[in-house]
C-alpha cells in the first residue's frame, strides 16, 4: 500500500468517524432528554428540602429552562470545542471527570482484552489443531461454559475463592490507598488489584475468541491454499502457523475490534462488583443521579473509544490483509 493512499484511507476513516460521533452526540442528547427525571428535582430532593424558588434557580443555572433545541445546539457547539459541559451535581467539568476515570477503565479493559485475545487465540488454535480429541472437547466445553455464565457471577465466584477463602488477592479498589508506593512496588500493587476484575472481564471474551479462532481455523484449514502448502511439503507446524492461523486471525481481528468496544461498555458490571473506579461505574452513578452531562459525556467517550478501536482494527486489518482496497 502506498503512503499517500494509506493517508487517504486514514483521513477518510477519520471523517467517517467524526460524522458518526456527531450522530451519536445528537442521538444521545435526545435520548437522555427523553428521560422523565429532572436533575434539579434530584438535587433539591437530596438536599433534604426544596421550594419552587430553589428549583427554578437550579434549572436556570443548568440551562434546563431553555428550549430543547437550544440546549442541544449549546451542547454540540461546546463539544466541538472540547467542552463536555459541567456536571450538574459534581460541580466539575465533565471532561475532567471522565479523563480521571478513563485511565482506570482503559487499564482494566485493556488488560482484559489482551488476556482474552492471547488466551482465546491460543486455546482456539490448540482446540482446532486437536479437533475431535479430548483436549479439543475440553477447551470447547470450557469456552461454552464461560460463554454461558453471567459475567458478574464469575466475578463473585472469583472474589469468594481468591479473596474470601484463600485471601490471596484484594477484592475491590485499584490500589492500596495511603501506602504511597512508587515505581515497581506501585505497579505490582495495582497489578494485584487488577488481576481479578481483568480476569472476570477477560474470561467471557476469551471464550468468544477461543470459539471464533477454532471455527476460523477449521474453516481456513479446508481451503485450497492450505492444501497447496501441504503439497509443497511444508511441515504441519508451518502449515498451521504461516497459512492457517494467519488467515484465521482475520475474522478474529474483526470481531476483536467490535468486542473491544463492547468490552468498555460491559465493564460496567465488573466495575460495580470490584469497585473499580472507571467510567462504566461513573455512567451508572450518573444515570441514577440523573446527571445528564456526565451521562452524555460517558456515552460520547465510550462511543469514541469504540470508533477508535474500530479504526485501529480497520488499519490493522488493512495492514495484515493486502486485499483490502484503500478506497
Amino acid at each position: 500500500m502506498g503512503g499517500a493512499r494509506f493517508a487517504g484511507f486514514l483521513v477518510q476513516r477519520v471523517i467517517k468517524m467524526v460524522v458518526m460521533v456527531f450522530a451519536i452526540i445528537v442521538a444521545n442528547f435526545l435520548l437522555v432528554h427523553a428521560a422523565p427525571g429532572d436533575p434539579a428535582s434530584v438535587i433539591a430532593g437530596e438536599a433534604g428540602a426544596a421550594d419552587p424558588q430553589f428549583l427554578a434557580q437550579l434549572r436556570a443555572q443548568f440551562g434546563l429552562d431553555q428550549p430543547l433545541s437550544t440546549q442541544l445546539w449549546l451542547y454540540v457547539s461546546h463539544v466541538a470545542q472540547g467542552d463536555l459541559g459541567v456536571s450538574y451535581r459534581q460541580q466539575r467539568p465533565v471532561l475532567g471527570l471522565i479523563l480521571e476515570r478513563l485511565s482506570a477503565t482503559l487499564l482494566l479493559t485493556g488488560t482484559a482484552f489482551i488476556l482474552a485475545v492471547l488466551g482465546g487465540v491460543t486455546l482456539g488454535a490448540l482446540a482446532a489443531r486437536r479437533v475431535g480429541r479430548t483436549s479439543d472437547s475440553l477447551i470447547t466445553v470450557l469456552a461454552l461454559a464461560l460463554y454461558a455464565t453471567p459475567i458478574f457471577w464469575v466475578g463473585l465466584m472469583l472474589v469468594l475463592v481468591f479473596s474470601v477463602w484463600l485471601d490471596w488477592l484484594p477484592s475491590f479498589g485499584m490500589n492500596t490507598v495511603g501506602a504511597d508506593l512508587t515505581g515497581g512496588a506501585a505497579v505490582l500493587d495495582t497489578a494485584r488489584y487488577l488481576l481479578l476484575p481483568a480476569l472476570t472481564l477477560g474470561l467471557f471474551y476469551m471464550a468468544v475468541y477461543a470459539r471464533l479462532t477454532r471455527a476460523a481455523m477449521l474453516e481456513v484449514a479446508s481451503q485450497d491454499f492450505v492444501r497447496t502448502a501441504r503439497a509443497k511439503g511444508v511441515p504441519e507446524g508451518g502449515v498451521q502457523r504461516r497459512h492457517v492461523l494467519r488467515n484465521a486471525l482475520l475474522p478474529v481481528i474483526t470481531v476483536a475490534g467490535i468486542q473491544a468496544g463492547q468490552l468498555v461498555g460491559g465493564s460496567i458490571l465488573v466495575e460495580t462488583v470490584f469497585a473499580w473506579p472507571g467510567i462504566g461505574r461513573l455512567a451508572f452513578d450518573a444515570l441514577l443521579a440523573r446527571d445528564y452531562q456526565i451521562l452524555l459525556g460517558v456515552f460520547l467517550a465510550t462511543s469514541v473509544l469504540v470508533l477508535v478501536f474500530n479504526l485501529v482494527t480497520d488499519l490493522l486489518y488493512a495492514w495484515i490483509d493486502p486485499r483490502v482496497e484503500m478506497t
Binding site: 487517504g8 477518510q12 481451503q223 491454499f225 503439497a231 511439503g233 511444508v234 504461516r242 488467515n247 478506497t327
Partner: protein, 541 residues
C-alpha cells in the same frame, strides 16, 4: 521401471456414500517424459487417485488396498514425515482453482521461496526470480513482491506451476489446472506445461474432463468411470478409436457437429438491440474518484424469428450483462432494446409484466437457479401462477412440461437437491417454457455440466426450439458448443461486439484478430472426434 506405478489402488468412501469405493482396483503407470491424462466426469474418482499419490486425501477416505511405487518405494507405506519430504521436491502438484490455491496473505515470492526453504534449498532469492521467469511471467521482481489478489487467474496458475517446479520434481500432478481459465489462457498454460515437461523430461499426470485438452496435450490416456479405469492407451488410439462404450459415449458427446449452414434467417426481427451501453461504477471513496467500467459498449444485434444467435466471448466480455439487459435484470443506461415494436428499456416495472411471458431465460448454474426450498412442481408452476393461472392448472401444466423435458411425473413432488445437475437444468428449461415464451435467452446453459450431460441438454434445447418455434439467444464461452448450436454468432471482447455473422462463415474465416485467437485456442482444435454411431446410452445423467 516406471516412474510412478499405481497398482490395484482401492480407496473406500465413508459408510453411507453412494458407492462403497471412491476408486476401485485402479492401476496405471507414468513414465518419465510423458503426459498421462486421466479423463473422467465429475465423481469418477480421478482426483481421489492423485490425492492418494500425494497422501493428501481427506481424512474420511481410507486406502484399503494397493501400492504406489515411486523411486523404489511404496508411497502408501511411507511415514508422514518421509512423505512430506517428497511432496514439493520430488512430486509437484498444481490445482484447479488458481484463485484460491495461493495464500492471500503471503507475497508471491515468499510462497515460491517457501518451497525452497522447507526443503532446505539455498539461494532462494535469485532462484525465485528464475522460476518466475521460467513460467514466463513478466517483471519477476514486481511479481515476487505482489500479493496473489493482484494477479489474474492465468498468472496465478503460472505461479502455482513455478512453485510445483521449484525443486525440479520427477513427477508433476496437474489436477484440472486449466478448467477455471478462459480458453486463450488455457491454451497458454497448456503450452507452458508441455514445454516445461518436454524440456525437463518430467512425467506429468494430468487430470481433466475435457477431451479437447486431452487431444491437445496427452501422450497416453486413462478413462475413469465410477472409480474404475475403463480404458487406457495411447492418446491417438483412445481419441480416435475408443473401445469402451463409455469412452465412445463421452467422445461422441463432445460438441463437434459443426452446424450445417442454415439458410440465412429471413423472419421478421424479434429482438433488436441498438447502441446498448451499460457501465458499472467501481470505487468511489472520498479521495479516489469513481471509475466507470464499461461492461457493454454500443452493442447492436438483431435476432430474427426462429433463429439461434450465439453470443460468445471469454469471462468478463460482457456477454452475460448484455443478455441480462434484455430481460431487465440489468438496466442499460443507453440504447434501444426493441422487442417487436416496443422499446423494453423505457418500460416501467409494471409495464414489463406482459413481456415476461414472452421472453424467458435459462440460467447457467443448475444448482443455484432453482429455489432450494420449493418443490419442483411449484417451481415450474411459479411463472404461470404469477401471471394469474390457478394453482391446480399451473401444476397440471408443470406435469406436462416435466414430460416435455423428459423427466418422470413424480419429479414434481420432489425438491431440487434430489436431482442431478442435468436433471435440474431440465427443470430450469421446463420453468422457462411454462410461460410459452417466444424468445428464450440461454445463459451458458451447459457450461456447468459434464460433457455427456451437456450433449443431452443441447439436444433437448435444439429439439424444443424446433418443436416450439423458439427464437434463442444463446450465450456461451465454448466455441464448440456455439458451433453446434447457433446459426449465427456474435463475438464479444471487453464489452464490444467485435464480429458477428453466420457461424460457419465466422469460424471458417474469422475477420477480427480476437476471433482468430479464440478459435486458435480451442483445445484439440486439430482433433476431430470420430463420428461414430453413438447412442446416448452409456452416458450418465
Amino acid at each position: 521401471m516406471s516412474l510412478l506405478d499405481v497398482r490395484n489402488l482401492t480407496i473406500a468412501l465413508p459408510p453411507g456414500a453412494e458407492r462403497a469405493h471412491a476408486v476401485e482396483d485402479v492401476s496405471f503407470t507414468l513414465e518419465a517424459g510423458e503426459i498421462l491424462c486421466i479423463v473422467g466426469e465429475s465423481g469418477s474418482g480421478k482426483s481421489v487417485s492423485t490425492g492418494a499419490i500425494m497422501s493428501l486425501l481427506p481424512p474420511a477416505l481410507r486406502v484399503v488396498q494397493g501400492s504406489i511405487g515411486f523411486e523404489g518405494r511404496d508411497l502408501l507405506r511411507l511415514k508422514p514425515a518421509e512423505m512430506r519430504l517428497l511432496r514439493g521436491s520430488r512430486i509437484g502438484m498444481i490445482f484447479q482453482e488458481p484463485m484460491t490455491a495461493l495464500n492471500p496473505l503471503m507475497r508471491v515470492g515468499e510462497q515460491i521461496g517457501e518451497v525452497l526453504k522447507v526443503h532446505g534449498a539455498r539461494g532462494s532469492a535469485g532462484r525465485v526470480q528464475e522460476l518466475i521467469n521460467a513460467v514466463q511471467l513478466p517483471d519477476p521482481d514486481s511479481i515476487a513482491r505482489s500479493y496473489p489478489h493482484l494477479l489474474s487467474g492465468g498468472q496465478r496458475q503460472r505461479v502455482m506451476i513455478a512453485m510445483a517446479l521449484a525443486l525440479e520434481p520427477a513427477v508433476l500432478i496437474a489436477d484440472e489446472p486449466t478448467t477455471a481459465l478462459d480458453v486463450t489462457t488455457q491454451m497458454q498454460i497448456l503450452g507452458l506445461i508441455k514445454e516445461i515437461q518436454s524440456r525437463r523430461g518430467m512425467g506429468v499426470l494430468f487430470i481433466t474432463h475435457d477431451f479437447g485438452v486431452v487431444a491437445e496435450i496427452a501422450d497416453r490416456v486413462a478413462v475413469m468411470q465410477h472409480g474404475r479405469i475403463v480404458e487406457a492407451g495411447a492418446a491417438t488410439q483412445v481419441l480416435n478409436a475408443p473401445q469402451h462404450p463409455y469412452t465412445q459415449a463421452l467422445i461422441a458427446a463432445v460438441p463437434h457437429r459443426a452446424r450445417a449452414l442454415d439458410a440465412p434467417p429471413t423472419g421478421r426481427p424479434v429482438l433488436e438491440l441498438i447502441g446498448v451501453r451499460k457501465s458499472y461504477w467501481r470505487g468511489g471513496g472520498l479521495f479516489s474518484p469513481r471509475v466507470k467500467v464499461p461492461a457493454v459498449q454500443d452493442a447492436d444485434l438483431v435476432l430474427r424469428k426462429g433463429e439461434t444467435l450465439g453470443l460468445v466471448g471469454e469471462s468478463g466480455s460482457g456477454k452475460s450483462t448484455l443478455a441480462r439487459c434484455v430481460v431487465n435484470l440489468v438496466k442499460p443506461e443507453e440504447g434501444t432494446i426493441r422487442y417487436h415494436d416496443t422499446d423494453l428499456r423505457r418500460l416501467m416495472r409494471r409495464h414489463w409484466k406482459p413481456y415476461r411471458k414472452r421472453i424467458q431465460m435459462v440460467f447457467q448454474d443448475p444448482f443455484a437457479s432453482l429455489n432450494p426450498r420449493r418443490r419442483v412442481g411449484d417451481i415450474i408452476a411459479e411463472g404461470p401462477m404469477a401471471h394469474g393461472m390457478a394453482r391446480a392448472s399451473a401444476l397440471r401444466r408443470a406435469d406436462e412440461l416435466l414430460a416435455l423435458v423428459q423427466l418422470d411425473a413424480g419429479a414434481a413432488e420432489r425438491f431440487p437437491h434430489e436431482f442431478s445437475g442435468g436433471q435440474r437444468q431440465r427443470i430450469g428449461i421446463a420453468r422457462a417454457l411454462a410461460l410459452e415464451p417466444e424468445l428464450l435467452i440461454a445463459d451458458e446453459p451447459v457450461s456447468a455440466l459434464d460433457v455427456s450431460v451437456q450433449a443431452q441438454i443441447l439436444a433437448l434445447l435444439e429439439d424444443l426450439r424446433q418443436r416450439l418455434g423458439l427464437t434463442m439467444l444463446f450465450i456461451t464461452h465454448d466455441l464448440r458448443v456455439a458451433a453446434q448450436v447457433c446459426g449465427r454468432v456474435a463475438v464479444m471482447q471487453r464489452g464490444v461486439i467485435v464480429e458477428q455473422g453466420r457461424t460457419a462463415e465466422v469460424f471458417a474465416a474469422p475477420q477480427h484478430p480476437y476471433t482468430r485467437s479464440l478459435l486458435d485456442s480451442i483445445p484439440g482444435r486439430h482433433w476431430l472426434p470420430p463420428v461414430a454411431q453413438i447412442s446416448d446410452q452409456g452416458a450418465v445423467d
